[in-house]
Amino acid sequence: MTAPAPAPVQTKPLLEVRGLRKLFPISRGLFRAPTDFVHAVDGIDFEIAPGESLGLVGESGCGKSTTGRMLVKLLEATEGTIQFNDGDYERDVANVSRSEIKEFRSRVQMIFQDPYESMNPRRTVFDTVSEPLAVQGVGTVPEREERVLELLGLVGLAPPENFLFRYPHELSGGQRQRIAIARALVMNPRFVVADEPTSMLDVSIRISIMELMTELGSRLGVSYLYITHDLAVARYMCDRIAVMYLGKMVEIGPTEEILANPRHPYTRALLSAVPIPDPSVKRTPVEIKGGISKAINPAPECRFIERCPFVADVCRENPHPEMFQVGERHYAACYRINEI
């Protein structure tokens, strides 16, 4: 097997998401059709360029994981399109049929949060990492072994031979997450969804996993959707950040721009709640009140209306705002953007 080729020059976005929605019905009894729906993801649009890393941040229940799962087709979207363009391979993810799913999965992969649960305890590292190759029917067993060794070296498990036939319980959390990364990268995917890949790890190990993902991403030409609740981690991992609130995207823009100049009131609140590892810095107090609710049959008005300190008539009289451009590649969904 050959070394992964550098990412081909592509002007089209790798991923174009338009009007993506996912509604989960709430069952009210065996014979009654559901009338209530959780609007987990409620009409979001974004693009990811080849080689780019987009961070999806927000509180629990905002729809970030649901979005990630739809992109890799672990969940079917209720509405909307996810156009995936990898060179000549152009598909709407929703229309990828059962017979095509194998090929799709060789281009799109996922890394899960919990390295203790995302691996089969009865299978060795070799079994786990080579499984995608076996499923796709790539290479002979010795070739697969060679490829797995190459990947283990790439993710910093040295010497790779020593890890090949170990079981998950013999590995630390950091080592398991390295194996999960190796498994995700073994087919040379173009796009990887990483759902909180470092949140279970200790600080000192977290940094090396973050560095590993960034380095391999740029070396192998992989784009990431990086799902996290930790804005400080997103700052180091992502070119752009998208903030979600109750199924809606409320702000998207370049990482440093979002951190330095947040425009949506929710983004501001979120940023001002993040503790700072420096006792000499005093944070500005968080402006919003209350807690996050659930988006069950939400009202048409702005999703953030109940907690927003800047709410005005314009917010009550209009539907949930569209994304307005507020800077270069920077958009926010708020009617009062120019007043606050």
Binding site: D202, S208, L231, L259, I276, P279, S280
Partner: protein, 346 residues
């Protein structure tokens, strides 16, 4: 002891007076494979009204230290040496009944994940009532108990009506507030809070930490925070201890340790913590893995991963030395640890 449950007790605080003094605490777990040296020679003092933090990574002994203070260790744990003095009395010399009386009344604990351990079939108020039943048996009527629990609820920002509700009617943040209300039930002098906000979203975390800070100041309590989150510890504590592999490696005023950490591990921990403010600095990863505490490394336990280690560190354990008032470090080469002046990323 006088009962003033009408309003929550407010203590006069003398910040120079020690409340809890831990000396040379050593504790091991006996397992099949041998003895795990979980807490080794740990010593620190919490003063009246002070907030102290213990930070470190999984398995460094911070939760074991907390449980040891309350004598709540599992059966296979063994105290090898040390003293834990609360207002001068050594807790390790009390018998089990005396110790039970002290728990909740003098020292209360907010356990890790406690917000998910409410019994789902009992009302939250009734579960707090159990604490009052145990410690004020027969001294309070049912109505007095109810009024006290309502006072506790309002102290932590919960509506009084929630007293009669079941745990599933509380959100995550509200359940954690109720846990804190329970810890406050007997107006303890010290609360040990083990990862009190770890499972919560940042905005709720911010609310809970503010609430704790306010209550601590108003009631004149001391708090021992246990956390892996350095940013949280930076914001809520006056002093902090950094633990590594069962040892306390640095202890001092929070502002001083953050401005100039002297132990290499504390230094690397701070350099590997990302922040959303300030310039985007290069983060320094820590190489290697935490040691096996069945066979801890010789000399300084951090030497296999330490970039400043010398031959002496391999053979000789460094003393926990005071380098400035109230600031102690266990490192032979602490003077070699540079300032936290980190270079910018690209």
């Amino acid at each position: 002891m006088t009962l003033s449950l009408e309003s929550l007790q407010t203590r006069r605080v003398d910040r120079s007076k020690p409340l809890l003094e831990v000396d040379d605490l050593t504790m091991r777990y006996k397992i099949k494979a041998g003895e795990v040296s979980a807490v080794e020679d740990v010593g620190f003092t919490i003063h009246q009204g002070e907030a102290v933090g213990l930070v470190g990574e999984s398995g460094c002994g911070k939760t074991s230290t907390a449980l040891a203070l309350l004598r709540l260790l599992p059966a296979n744990a063994e105290y090898v040496s040390g003293e834990i003095r609360l207002n001068g009395d050594d807790l390790l010399r009390l018998n089990e009944d005396e110790m039970r009386e002290r728990r909740w009344r003098d020292i209360a604990m907010v356990f890790q994940g406690a917000m998910n351990s409410w019994n789902p079939v009992y009302r939250v108020g009734d579960q707090i009532r159990e604490v009052l039943d145990t410690h004020y048996r027969g001294q309070l009527s049912f109505e007095e108990q109810t009024r006290h629990i309502e006072t506790l609820f309002s102290a932590v920002g919960l509506p009084a009506a929630m007293v009669d509700r079941y745990p599933h009617e509380f959100s995550g943040g509200m359940r954690q507030r109720a846990v804190i209300a329970m810890a406050l039930a007997c107006s303890p002098e010290l609360i040990i809070a083990d990862e009190p906000t770890t499972a919560l979203d940042v905005i709720v975390q911010d609310q809970i930490l503010k609430e704790l800070k306010r209550i601590q100041a108003e009631m004149g309590m001391s708090i021992l925070y246990i956390s892996h989150d350095i940013a949280v510890i930076a914001e809520v504590t006056d002093s902090l201890g950094v633990m590594y592999a069962g040892k306390l490696v640095e202890y001092g005023p929070t502002s001083e340790v953050f401005a100039r950490p002297r132990h290499p591990y504390a230094y690397l921990l701070l350099r590997s913590t990302p922040s959303i403010t300030g310039p985007r600095r290069k983060l320094a990863p820590l190489s290697g893995e935490p040691p096996d505490l069945l066979n801890p490394p010789t000399g300084c336990r951090f030497h296999p991963r330490c970039p400043f280690a010398t031959e002496r560190c391999v053979v000789e354990e460094p003393p926990f030395e005071e380098i400035s008032p109230g600031h102690r470090v266990a490192c032979w080469n602490y003077e070699d640890v540079p300032e936290l002046d980190m270079e910018l990323v690209r």
